[in-house]
Structures are given as structure tokens and as C-alpha cells.
């Protein structure tokens, strides 16, 4: 399907988003639900436009006579913007479908007007073709999502989340402002084409890289700039959490790709170092927190941090391979990063929407109060299981496709001429392997405690399945996860033109395999992964086995109380909780990276008071990089507070002293 004017269609979609936002300002509260069908319509239109551009690879430009003088407001839709536009709008479609199921009582003037605005802002960030427009829409995206985070402002937790998010977003935008300022230079051509033409000195471009990494990394959740994610993503309503975690982080990934691979172009090899090091550390660090946290949505937020780490590591490898001229491997690494962005947006949206369903059905999201929901919410449980298996990178689901590509890229590492990169790539491989193992543990724990076992609270025991449209939204994402896993080779083929522009070549081996659907990184002799065949084999052998067993066995099944080694305990409190599940892992990694404090209060023999055991854990980054400077600042400010209430004589003395000091400085300086 070729669309003649994709940008026009996108304009229509944006108009629908904007119209829905404005309309919801004047509509009565009970009619606010109308924004969700509108957003679905807009998202479908935008997806169609994005897909047609991705297939055709032509650029489309438009310019509006507002914005900076002589620059105007420029829009451009190219392959990169279309790819991320597809991610964004598909996520919006799923979240909005879920949103249709939101009850009338939960509609609010604090959520529904900002939701379409947030959707529109994410789309326009991708389209912006000048620095001013980019930063404006970026800030709009931050602010509209901030408004959604503080929607439940009556809760202190949300207010804190909103406060931290606002500070981080402001700092991120400020950093991006410096980055674009540096790229535009003193002459100040703020259109992206002028920035591309402007050549930078190595020092300036390094500073630009640092600023850009700070700006986009703080939005995406690169450690140690991640601290706001586990606060803000869970605080928002669940369908907004899905958008923030699954989609908005990808807009940040888009921004860093746009800056490094397009605007700066031809980055030197050492630029890959911060990407690889931060990416690997973020991947493992994010999971170590995810595997400890006891709040379902916080677990998901920490897992987002991990996945962003994987994407950044992939980008780092792509930079390194491209700079050293190994384009085939650069394409593999780039494909891994892009496909992981796509795949992560699907399963993370699924998991967050599922968590929303659990929250809606039980009113709680603490892992230790849930359990047994597979009985009460069978559909949600099944879809969530698929999401959990996908994110744990298990074949034949979609998470494994990008993981596999990334390992193939790591394996091309011995080709690096630079010893540092040759040393770093096995380290990255080890960290990624560790992350894969931990991800499985994290999601076995999450699924196991929420959906399996016996209900740990009355709320969980009386849960009910959510409305049909909500399970439909979650189910469609689960289907996408399966299809994305089976047809990973096709996805890699579809982004071929994009890989060609970003990395220099596409995955050339793709169609040379035994079947057209095989995923092949370099050539079929070297590495190959064929999900459909594996899925077929596993399905066939399960069915054969089942038939055989049913033929031989007596097929009788009896129900009885659980065996539990002969001592079953009726109390659900005897089950393993999420905290007990992670205890062995806590013990292994304690002291290395985890700030976990276990305290045990064991009464001496004869004492009748109950024993107590508690675990607290804190984020190292939060304590040392955020809380400590904030306290220091507060302490200094308190000291300076004394200057506020001086008599006029003292103020005059102060001014006099300052004057003298300045004069001395000037005298010495001259």
C-alpha cells in the first residue's frame, strides 16, 4: 500500500489527537471516554502512514511559518521517524483500546485531556526537523506526561513522583538545549539540514555527545539517571504507564539515534564506549532492582530500565562497528537495537496493561498481597504469561529475536582493530548473558506470585476479569509478541532500507536461508535461527507426546489436597512470597550492587513475643547521587538562610565587602 501524501495523513491524525484534547476540556466528565476511540482512529491512520513510508523510503517535508524566525517550524518524515512513529502509534492504539474499558467513575479532567496531548507530542517529536520544534515538542511531551503522573495528586507518593520527574525532565531538556546549541554553533542554523552541514570540532562534538546522552538518557532511564522511572511510571494510570514505559522511552532512543547517526554522522569509534559501558551496567543494574522490588508496576519500570540498557548497548556496538568499517556487523547491532525497541514496546505495554488489569481487579499492586489470579482472571493471566516469556527472551517469542541478533553482533567483536573494544565486547556479552538469566528469574517471580499459587489477600481471592476491550487490548499485544517472534526474519527484512541509511548496509544474508523466514545475521553458514521451524517442532512433539501418553495411560485424574511433603498448611501465608523468592538472589548479589538491609528480630527462648524479619532496600543511585546532594544543598541553603534577616547596616557592610573583594579581584586580574 503506497500512500501518496503520508504527511497529510499524519497531519489528520495529529489534528484528531489535538481535537480530542481540546474537546475533552469542554466535555462533561462522563463523556470523556470519547478521547480513546478518537486516539485509536488517529493511531491507526498514523500507523498506516508510517508503514507506507517505511516501505517506500521517501522523505516527506513540510514547513509551517511559525516558530523561530527564518527557520519556521519544519517537519520531516523519513524512515527513522516512520519506524519509531510506528512503535509510538501502535502503543497508543493498544493503550487507547484498553482505555475504552475504563469505567465512567474513573474518567477525570486530570487524565483524559492530557492523554491525547501526550500522544500528539510524542508524534511531533519524531516529525520535528528543526531544533526549536524538537525541543518544544519534547518539552510538551514531558509536561503532558507529567500532568498524567500527578493525576492522583492527593496521594503523597504521586506528588513526590511528579516532583522528581519534573526536575529530571527539566534537566534533560536543558541538556538537549546545550546539545542542539553546540551542534548549531555560533552561526545558529537551527534547521536539521543546517546542523547536518555544520562540521564540529572534536571537542565540541564530544561535549554535544555528553549533553545528548544526558538529555536522552534521563528520559529513557539510563543508569544513574533512571531514578525517576520507578517513581513516575507506576504513579500514572496504567494505560499511561504503558505509554510512558513502552513508548516514550523509545522516543528518547529515537532522539539519540537521530543525533548520533544522522545529525552528527560518522561518529568516531570511542563514542561507543559510553553507550556500551552505560548500557551493560544499566541492563544488569535495572534487573537487580527489578528482581527485588515488591511493587508490580515498579518491577516493570525497573525492567524497562534494563531493556533500555540493552538497546543502548546495541547502539554502542553499532557505532563501534560502523566507525571501524565493519558495516555488516554494524547492521546486525543496529537491527538488534531497533527490533528490541519495537519488541520492548509491545511486551512492556502488554505487561503494564496487564498490571493495570490486576490493579483494577484487586485494587493492589504489591506482589505480596496477590496470588492465584490465574483462576480468577484466566485470560489476563495467559496473555501476561506470554508477555513475561517474551521479555525473558525465550524462543520462539519476540524478545529472543533481538537478543539473538545482539549476541551475534557481540560475536563479531574480535574484528575490532581497537584493543579496548576487543576487550569490551566479551564483557558486554557476559553482562547481557547475566541480564538474560536475571530477567527470567525476575519474571518467574512476578508471574508466579501474582498469578500462580493461592490468593494472599481477600482482594486477590475476590478478583474478577476486566472488561472485554481491556483483555482484547492485552490479547492483541500478546498476538503481536508471538508474531514478532515467529517472523523476526521478516521484521529484520522490513527495516532493511532503514539499516542501510543508519549502518551502511542491510542484513544481506536474510533470504539465503533454508526457508525465507529464517533470521540470519551474516550468512547462513555462520549463524541462523528459525523460529517457525522450532515452534512447529515443539508444537508437534508436545502433541505427539500428549497423544502417546493418553494412549498408554489410564487418563484418570483425581483432585486431592496439595501434598507438600505430607504437611500441607491451609494458610496462604505459608507460600513463598515475592520477598522470599528473591532472598537467594539478594544473598548472592548483596553488597555487590544491592542496597538491601535485612533485619531479624528473634526473641530469646522463653520470650513469647513474635519474631520479626524485615527487608528494606534502597536504590544506591538514589541515595548517593540524588538524596545526598539534595541534603547537602538543603544544608547549605539553611546556612545561607541567616542572611535573610539581617539589619540594614549589615547588608550595607556586606555590599561594601563584596565591592572591595571585586575590586581586588579585578586589580589582580588586570
Amino acid at each position: 500500500m503506497m500512500v501518496e501524501r503520508p504527511l497529510d495523513i499524519l497531519a489528520v491524525a495529529l489534528a484528531i489527537y489535538g481535537g480530542a484534547a481540546l474537546l475533552s476540556l469542554i466535555l462533561p466528565r462522563r463523556l470523556l471516554g470519547i478521547v480513546y476511540p478518537a486516539c485509536i482512529l488517529a493511531a491507526i491512520l498514523a500507523c498506516a502512514a508510517d508503514l507506507s513510508v517505511l516501505a517506500g523510503q521517501a522523505d516527506f517535508k513540510a514547513q509551517l511559518p511559525i516558530g523561530l524566525p527564518s527557520v519556521g517550524l519544519r517537519f520531516r518524515l523519513d524512515g527513522l521517524a516512520a519506524f519509531f512513529g510506528f512503535i509510538v502509534n501502535l502503543g497508543i492504539a493498544a493503550s487507547s483500546l484498553y482505555g475504552i474499558g475504563i469505567g465512567k467513575a474513573d474518567l477525570s479532567k486530570r487524565i483524559e485531556p492530557f492523554y491525547p496531548a501526550f500522544c500528539a507530542a510524542m508524534n511531533t517529536v519524531l516529525l520535528a526537523d528543526d531544533a526549536f520544534g524538537f525541543l518544544f515538542f519534547w518539552e510538551l511531551m514531558s509536561l503532558s506526561s507529567w500532568a498524567l503522573v500527578v493525576a492522583r495528586h492527593e496521594e503523597a507518593e504521586c506528588r513526590k513522583a511528579g516532583y522528581v520527574y519534573l526536575i529530571m525532565a527539566a534537566m534533560g531538556t536543558a541538556a538537549l538545549l546545550f546539545a542542539f546549541g553546540g551542534m548549531a554553533g555560533a552561526a545558529g542554523g537551527y534547521g536539521f539540514d543546517a546542523i547536518r552541514a555544520h562540521k564540529l570540532t572534536p571537542l565540541i562534538s564530544a561535549l554535544v555527545l555528553v549533553a545528548a546522552l544526558f538529555g536522552t538518557g534521563s528520559k529513557a532511564g539510563i543508569m544513574p539517571l533512571h531514578a525517576w522511572l520507578p517513581l513516575a511510571h507506576p504513579a500514572a494510570p496504567s494505560h499511561v504507564s504503558a505509554l510512558m514505559s513502552g513508548v516514550m522511552t523509545k522516543v528518547a532512543v529515537y532522539a539519540i539515534i537521530r543525533i548520533v547517526f544522522d545529525l552528527l554522522a560518522d561518529p568516531p569509534w570511542w563514542w561507543s564506549l559510553p553507550f556500551i559501558i552505560l548500557g551493560a551496567a544499566t541492563a544488569v543494574g535495572g534487573l537487580l532492582y527489578a528482581v527485588q522490588d515488591r511493587d508490580l508496576k515498579r518491577v516493570l519500570a525497573y525492567s524497562t530500565i534494563e531493556n533500555i540498557g540493552i538497546i543502548f548497548a546495541g547502539l554502542g556496538l553499532a557505532i563501534a562497528f560502523k566507525a571501524t568499517g565493519i558495516v555488516a556487523a554494524a547492521a546486525v547491532a543496529m537491527a538488534a537495537a531497533l527490533l528490541h525497541s519495537l519488541n520492548h514496546s509491545w511486551f512492556k505495554s502488554l505487561l503494564f496493561l496487564g498490571a493495570g488489569a490486576v490493579l483494577h481487579a484487586t485494587g493492589r499492586r504489591d506482589l505480596d498481597g496477590l496470588g492465584g489470579l490465574i483462576q480468577r482472571m484466566p485470560k489476563t493471566a495467559f496473555f501476561w504469561l506470554i508477555g513475561a516469556l517474551s521479555i525473558s527472551a525465550l524462543p520462539p517469542l519476540n524478545g529472543f529475536v533481538s537478543e539473538w541478533l545482539l549476541f551475534q553482533a557481540v560475536l563479531a567483536g574480535p574484528g575490532f582493530p581497537e584493543p579496548i573494544l576487543r576487550f569490551l565486547s566479551p564483557v558486554l556479552g557476559a553482562m547481557l548473558a547475566l541480564a538474560a538469566g536475571l530477567a527470567a528469574a525476575c519474571f518467574v517471580r512476578a508471574f508466579g506470585t501474582v498469578f500462580l499459587g493461592r490468593p494472599r489477600s481477600k482482594d486477590a481471592a475476590e478478583a474478577h476479569e476486566v472488561p472485554f476491550v481491556q483483555t482484547l487490548a492485552i490479547g492483541l499485544l500478546a498476538v503481536l509478541c508471538i508474531l514478532g517472534g515467529l517472523f523476526g526474519g521478516f521484521s529484520a527484512y522490513a527495516i532493511g532500507p532503514l539499516l542501510k541509511t543508519l549502518a551502511g548496509t542491510e542484513l544481506t544474508g536474510l533470504l539465503n536461508g533454508p526457508t525465507k523466514l529464517s533470521l540470519i545475521a551474516f550468512d547462513p553458514e555462520r549463524s541462523i535461527y528459525d523460529a517457525p521451524t522450532i515452534a512447529l517442532f515443539v508444537t508437534l512433539s508436545s502433541i505427539t507426546t500428549m497423544l502417546f501418553v493418553h494412549l498408554v495411560s489410564n487418563r484418570r485424574t483425581r483432585r486431592a489436597p496439595a501434598w507438600d511433603c505430607g504437611f500441607p498448611d491451609a494458610s496462604p501465608a505459608t507460600q513463598y512470597t515475592a520477598s522470599s523468592f528473591s532472598q537467594p538472589l539478594r544473598r548472592v548479589y548483596k553488597g555487590v550492587v544491592l542496597g538491601a538491609v535485612e533485619s531479624l528480630d528473634m526473641p530469646p527462648p522463653g520470650d513469647l513475643r513474635p519474631g520479626h524479619f524485615s527487608v528494606r532496600f534502597y536504590d544506591y543511585a538514589w541515595r548517593n547521587l540524588y538524596a545526598a546532594p539534595a541534603e547537602a544543598l538543603l544544608a547549605v541553603a539553611t546556612r545561607f538562610n541567616a542572611f535573610q534577616f539581617l539589619t540594614i547596616r549589615r547588608y550595607l557592610v556586606l555590599m561594601f565587602c563584596t565591592l572591595i573583594a571585586l575590586l581586588i579581584v579585578t586589580a589582580v586580574w588586570m
Binding site: G372, I374, Q375, L385, L389, E403, W404, F407, L411, G413, P414, R422, F423, S425, G429, A430, A436, G437, A440, A441, F443, V444, G448, L452, G453, P514, P524, E525, R526, S527, I528, Y529, D530, T533, F537, V538, S542, T545, V552, S553, N554, R556, T557, R558, R559, A560, P561, A562, D564, C565, T574, Q575, Y576, S580, F581, Q583, P584, L585, R587, V588
Partner: protein, 321 residues
């Protein structure tokens, strides 16, 4: 076409070969252990009888067991079976082993493990939770170590496809590579942990707070238990085959072989599996089980070995660029 038929037959033969060999390997290990501790021990064929007996018995499910608990054993078995069938054993030219390279193979084993760990939590007993949580702790160290080991060999051979790795190693002159020695040690340690063997876990124990695998499958009975047990036997053969394929592929038949070469390959493979099963038995009686929390040190050192192996492979000059 002839080679296609041949490789198809090889694939089919392999699927049933591993299925037939798996209980025997477990039986041999059990017998060796019994003899070394001066017991008679059950005959090797007892393992087959046990499986058949379990299949024929009623299955008793806990009252609150869900559909997941009932269907998981079949999928776990199928995943393990497919994974085992994809490792070249007696011949390298299998019809379908192009479908998954080593990375995918490790992930397939991971999928089976995740499903088992989840199934263990389904009924909501404390033992299931213990087993599941410990299994995932062990896996979080064992899986990366396995991955690094297979990547080390893949790096040296220049391919992640197992048949090509095996062919490459056969074609090379016999020499000691430090990275391979480290990788071998690491993979053997991981294999012990993954198959719930001493010193990490004790396959013969019950009602002990140190158990891992047995705690997970405690609620299973009848045909479901038979599936889980069969999958466990298969997994042992899988790891033995993987070690053989990566480190001792000698005697393996190439695709275009005469029937006699295939027979030699089969004989060599069976001999190697027998030897490994005996060695495992000897190892198990000569060492004590360690505390659960020392397992992390054991596997941590496996991880370090595998990391050193891949580091050496990356930095050494013998790697094909």
C-alpha cells in the same frame, strides 16, 4: 536429494536415539553409584519401568492446580526433547539442526526451566516456592556461564551452528587450547548444577530443606511426573551431548558418510555417553553436597571460568576474523 533423505533419516534417528538413551544414562549413573557404595542397586532398565509405571498410574492433582500445571509437563518435555534432538550426537548432518544455533539452544533449555519453575509455584505450597526460587538463583548464574562457553567455542570455529563447530574441531589438529580447557571446566560445572547433581543438588533426596529440583516437582504425580522425569533424563543427555559435541566430537559422522561411518559414529557416541554416565556416578559418590548458599560460589567460579575462556578467545590470535 539423496543427502536430503539421509539427513532427514539422521534427524529422525536422532530424535528417537536420545529418547531411548536418556533413561539408560540416568540408570547407569544410578547403578554405578549403588555399586560404589556397596549396594546392589536397581538394574539399568528400572528407569524405563518406572517411567512406564508412572504413565500408567492415576494422576493426582492438587485441588487448586490450574491448566498451566497440567499442560506444563508436556511442553517442558517437548522443549527439552527438541533441544536435545538439535545437538549433533552421532552424525553432524541433521535435517533440522539449522533451525537453532547454540544461542537458541541455550534459550530453549531456558524456556523449559522457566516453565518448570512457574509450574512449581502453581499450587502455592512452600516447597514449590523454595525449589522455584533456588532454581532461578542457580539458573541466573548457570545460564550466562553456559552461554559464554558456547560462545567461546563458536568464536573459535567462526560459527554459532553446532554441526559446523563440531566439523571445525574434527578438522583441526588435536591441541590443547587454554580457552577450551576453561570452557570445558565451566560447562561441566554448569552441567552438574543444571541437572540437579551433587554437589549442587541431590537427585536422590526428599524431605530435605536443601533440595532444589525435587522440591519443584513435589506436587506432580502419575503421567505428569513421568513427563517431568523423562525431561530431566533428556536434559542430562543433552548436556552430555553438548559437552561431547563441543569438546570431544571425534568419531562423529559427517553428512556424506557411508553406513559404516555412521555405525562408527553411533558406537563412538554411545561409548562416550556411557563413559560420561559412569564418570558422573564416580564423581557423585566422591564428593559431598554443598550448602545451597555455597552454590553461588560454585557457579560464580563457573561463570568466571567461562568469562576468562571467552576473554582469551577474543584476545587470542587463533580466532578467525
Amino acid at each position: 536429494m539423496a543427502s536430503q533423505i539421509q539427513s532427514f533419516m539422521a534427524q529422525g534417528a536422532q530424535m528417537f536415539l536420545v529418547l531411548a538413551v536418556a533413561p539408560a544414562a540416568a540408570g547407569i549413573t544410578r547403578k554405578v553409584k549403588a555399586r560404589l557404595t556397596r549396594r546392589q542397586g536397581p538394574p539399568v532398565i528400572q528407569v524405563y519401568r518406572d517411567l512406564l509405571k508412572l504413565i500408567r498410574k492415576d494422576s493426582v492433582l492438587a485441588g487448586n492446580a490450574s491448566w498451566f500445571f497440567r499442560s506444563a509437563p508436556y511442553v517442558i518435555f517437548a522443549l527439552t526433547w527438541v533441544a536435545t534432538a538439535l545437538v549433533p550426537t552421532f552424525a553432524s548432518g541433521l535435517m533440522f539442526n539449522w533451525a537453532a544455533d547454540v544461542v537458541a539452544l541455550v534459550a530453549l533449555i531456558g524456556a523449559a526451566r522457566v516453565l518448570l519453575a512457574l509450574a512449581a509455584m502453581d499450587v502455592g505450597t512452600s516447597f514449590g516456592g523454595i525449589g522455584s526460587s533456588r532454581e532461578m538463583m542457580i539458573a541466573s548464574l548457570a545460564e550466562p556461564a553456559t552461554l559464554l562457553v558456547v560462545l567461546t567455542t563458536a568464536l573459535t570455529a567462526g560459527t554459532t551452528r553446532l554441526p559446523e563447530v563440531a566439523q571445525f574441531l574434527i578438522s583441526q589438529p588435536l591441541e590443547i587450547r587454554v580457552s577450551f580447557a576453561l570452557a570445558f571446566v565451566a560447562l561441566s560445572m554448569v552441567a552438574l548444577a543444571e541437572n540437579a547433581r551433587i554437589p549442587v543438588d541431590n537427585p536422590a533426596t526428599h524431605l530435605e530443606l536443601t533440595m532444589v529440583h525435587e522440591a519443584m516437582v513435589l506436587e506432580y504425580s502419575g503421567r505428569h511426573l513421568a513427563m517431568i522425569e523423562a525431561a530431566a533424563h533428556l536434559k542430562l543427555v543433552l548436556y552430555i551431548s553438548l559437552i561431547i559435541c563441543l569438546f570431544l566430537p571425534f568419531g562423529m559422522a559427517p553428512l556424506e558418510g557411508e553406513p559404516i561411518v555412521w555405525m562408527i559414529g553411533l558406537g563412538a557416541y554411545l561409548a562416550k555417553v556411557c563413559f560420561s554416565a559412569v564418570a558422573l556416578g564416580v564423581w557423585e559418590v566422591s564428593i559431598a553436597k554443598m550448602r545451597v548458599f555455597r552454590v553461588s560460589e560454585f557457579l560464580g567460579s563457573a561463570f568466571v571460568f567461562s568469562f576468562l575462556a571467552i576473554l582469551l578467545a577474543f584476545l587470542s590470535r587463533e580466532v578467525l576474523r
